[in-house]
């Protein structure tokens, strides 16, 4: 059992959780994730770790309510418990001195990106940050990112705040020498960034969290094609070279259970837990 030390709604339907998980907190590195299961009948879902407090013995995750499990998680309060928490899983992000790193985060994934940015700064990099969301009132961690980035840009899909879309990255790139790009967010966004950066030939790292079950290499649900080879995102990743990822296949595989996910969500919303 893992207790929720703090739960905070950042914006509508996006929640931050601090879970009591002393041992994970002591071991986690930016880029890694946990698998959690809310209760006995729950599914195992992967969530990228957005921070850890070794002294408090807690880890932070931020999660968007998009289906039954995340909605149920969102219904929990401070002091409530979840049944299972496994981690840290996956390989840590490659953090060392690259020079100037462009870190682009979208949606809830801005929170785990923030964890990486702090590490990039500590390693002596200049960090240019970009935070994005669908629309202005869905933006999270803007202030937190501003505090740790050398400069920060804001973008929204609908242009309600900052740049509209990510096309400005092309110009930004021409002006600024960048040694590495890190894109963490929705698949479409990571694909767009990878394509925008491709002509410049700069390594672009994306963080892939596809459908997973065990999260430790046993099932292969999370397989992605990278450079023509099948990889397991859970153990070979979650970070991959965005210029090598078959995003189309990934998008298709992410939708594999969409009808069931919808069904479970509707049942849950209508009837609560039991059927």
């Amino acid at each position: 059992m893992h207790r929720i030390v703090t739960k905070r709604e950042l914006v509508s339907h996006i929640n931050l959780f601090e879970f009591s998980a002393k041992e994970i907190a002591a071991k986690v590195k930016p880029g890694q994730f946990v698998i959690l299961k809310v209760d006995e009948k729950g599914e195992r879902i992967p969530l990228t770790i957005a921070g850890a407090d070794v002294e408090k013995g807690t880890i932070t995750v931020v999660c968007h309510e998009v289906g039954k499990t995340t909605r149920r998680l969102g219904s929990l309060k401070d002091g409530d418990c979840i049944l299972d928490l496994l981690g840290p899983l996956g390989k840590p992000a490659e953090i060392r001195k690259f020079g100037t790193v462009l870190c682009i985060g979208g949606g809830v994934m801005v929170a785990p990106l923030h964890f990486q940015v702090r590490a990039f700064r500590e390693a002596g990099n200049v960090v240019i940050g970009v935070v994005g969301a669908r629309t202005a009132n869905q933006l999270i961690f803007e202030d937190e990112m501003r505090q740790v980035c050398d400069e920060l840009y804001v973008a929204t899909d609908d242009g309600t705040k900052g740049y509209k879309g990510l096309d400005f990255l092309g110009d930004l790139f021409k002006e600024r020498r960048t040694d590495r790009v890190v894109a963490v967010g929705p698949i479409v966004m990571m694909k767009t960034v990878s394509e925008l950066i491709r002509p410049f030939g700069i390594p672009t790292i994306v963080n892939l969290i596809p459908v997973m079950v065990d999260g430790m290499g046993m099932c292969g649900a999370c397989r992605v094609t990278v450079g023509g080879k099948t990889m397991f995102a859970c153990v070979d990743g979650p970070d991959f070279d965005g210029h090598q990822v078959d995003f189309e296949e990934l998008v298709t595989r992410m939708k594999m259970y969409a009808p069931q996910e919808k069904l479970a969500f509707v049942f849950y919303e209508k009837g609560g837990r039991s059927l």
């Binding site: 009948k41 599914e43 299972d84 290499g217 292969g220 099948t230 939708k255 069931q260 049942f267 059927l275």
Partner: protein
Amino acid sequence: MSKPKAKIRKEVVPMPKQDPKQRSRNFNEVALGYTEEQAVSEAERCLQCGEAQCVKGCPVEVDIPAFINLIRERRFGEAIRKVKEKNSLPAVCGRVCPQEEQCQANCTLGKVGDPVSVGRLERFVADWEREQGYEISQKSTSTGMKVAVVGAGPAGLTAAAELAKLGHEVVVFEALHKPGGVLIYGIPEFRLPKKIVEAEAEYIGKLGVAIKMNVMVGKLYTLKELLERFDAVFLGTGAGLPLFMRVPGENLCGVYSANEFLIRVNLMKAYAFPEYDTPICVGERVAVVGGGNVAMDAARCALRLGAREVKIVYRRSHEEMPARAEEIENAEEEGIIFEFLTNPKRFIGNERGWVKAMECIRMCLGEPDESGRRRPVPIEGSDFMMDEDTVVIAIGRSPNPVIQQTTEGLQVTKWGTIVTDENGKTNIEGVYAGGDIVTGEATVISAMGAGKKAARAIHEYLMNKK
């Protein structure tokens, strides 16, 4: 021991099973187990040989004639205690051991008729005990030594039970959220009900073993860190990585590894979706590629999940199938179709990225290969299409690599298995290993045998250290 005077019946007492028509649509256990009368009647067939050959076929050396004799005398409590002297998971072994290749293959009675059904009798006494409530034998005095066991599968649980009985303090670390390893995630409910695995794990807990879930050694702690906290470590991490065919189209939606398919169904109970949250997609036509027990399990699960037609696609012929005869027979009875001497070449998807067909090639059998089985050779020009909307790849599993990758200096083979001596000792002092992580994918009982051997070696090591 006195031999029974009456003429020995040559035929085994049949075990009641669920009707194939009915059972192919539910997840309840197929084999229903002996009644007391049936068990006693089967036990009476045992010749009580002076030099029992059956025991030599048992990887954990259960005193088979002795426990069968106790059943014959209706002393069931003593019978299960006799089994448990050597075997900590009898209800599991009675169900999933390949007895026909082990104890029963050596049975003297087998030369003139059916061998005594040791497995069914073992299952009977184990189930009898579970219904009565477990009796815990006296624990040995504490040795003050601490042992970590990595992996709560058959090897790890057996090693843990043996070490606890010898008075060591044992902590088992399991990466999944439930103990049992392949018993809980791999073998389906209808062959091994999960409440039985839970009960056996609970029994091991009562022996004083602490089982900690959701701990992935190699990630949360390294092996080196465990060695700082424990006097010895047993690694029973198993063979849990799925092998794929590496042919085009394998990442289409609807193509599963057997591991994913079975983990969803067994561990996550996807058959009870949406009461349980984990979904599974099973279409009308399912092809399972492979010929082992895992392939049979996946095929029979698919049928129970509502598939109209389920095929086993195997590149060799019936004789070479590694699955147990009993499981093949069960699958046949339930209406699984077998396509022998057939191998997929690629998978073809529809416009939405879902598998719709499988291009296959016919095979013939050539010279025997290193496994001793005749090597399948493709027949040029025999390609044909099979329409399938779900495919399960059940061609084997490879060793879990995390501990090997995160432990400097641990000796490993080119297949990724851990190198040990015959007692499970690795090249690192105080570290032992056993089961699939050493042998590659094998049986539950051979893993248990390895766990037991290693436990003895660990005990000896600790006593000398003391």
